[in-house]
Symmetry: C2
Subunit: 132 residues, 2 copies
């Protein structure tokens, strides 16, 4: 299961969206850091292809603190902290590093693990709720 998290980061860092999408089941869902709710592998892939052609084209994702729990033998919850560097804004200006927490829910189908769900949240330091 930890390898699934590392494979996600490795695919991100190669900007290989075929490899990234291959981690997800057909009906997987993914909520990104601004609350975009993608439904199905095709939407997840298309969204990441867009960002990896633009904002995240040269970005690097480093994961740490990978925590894995197994509520059943075939389901695991894996959560990690991440730091993203080398990303740019829509105008192409370099942005400073940011960090967040990614959850993946994975299921074993008897052959391999698949990411069936994912939700991502940015870390905003020094507050207990969102500043407005």
């Amino acid at each position: 299961v930890k390898d699934m998290v590392l494979a996600f980061a490795a695919a991100w860092n190669r900007h290989d969206m075929d490899a990234l999408a291959a981690l997800f089941s057909e009906d997987a869902q993914f909520v990104n850091v601004v609350g975009l709710w993608w439904k199905g592998k095709a939407e997840i892939k298309a969204a990441h292809e867009f960002t990896h052609g633009t904002l995240f084209r040269s970005s690097r994702l480093e994961v740490s603190d990978v925590s894995v729990r197994f509520p059943t033998a075939t389901i695991a919850l894996a959560r990690c902290s991440w730091v993203l560097e080398g990303h740019v804004n829509p105008e192409g200006t370099a942005l400073s590093a940011r960090n967040g927490i990614l959850l993946i829910v994975v299921q074993h189908d008897g052959h391999r693990w698949w990411i069936i769900d994912s939700q991502n949240t940015d870390v905003i330091e020094g507050v207990i709720s969102r500043p407005q």
Copy 2:
């Protein structure tokens, strides 16, 4: 499972943190909208007691679009959109409504459902990644 989402919102709106905590398993984890990573029912309860004594004291949470999937018979993934109103900043000034997406992972132990994991993400409109 949908009732678990509605019970979360109902406990929030009564600001009844005993009822809210009672939805969670002892080893549940919760990542809030700014990436605070609470581990265990006691941490989840203490954090919500703090915010419901301050920022969220008079807040109201409305959930919609509850989506439930069952990867196995005893595990469910429930995701909903939410709108929060009536909250204030640390200085007590009223803030405008904000919205987000909450995921809960629930497990049935043979007697009842428990929230074993939760991750929350604010919606930021009009962008595909976090503005910096």
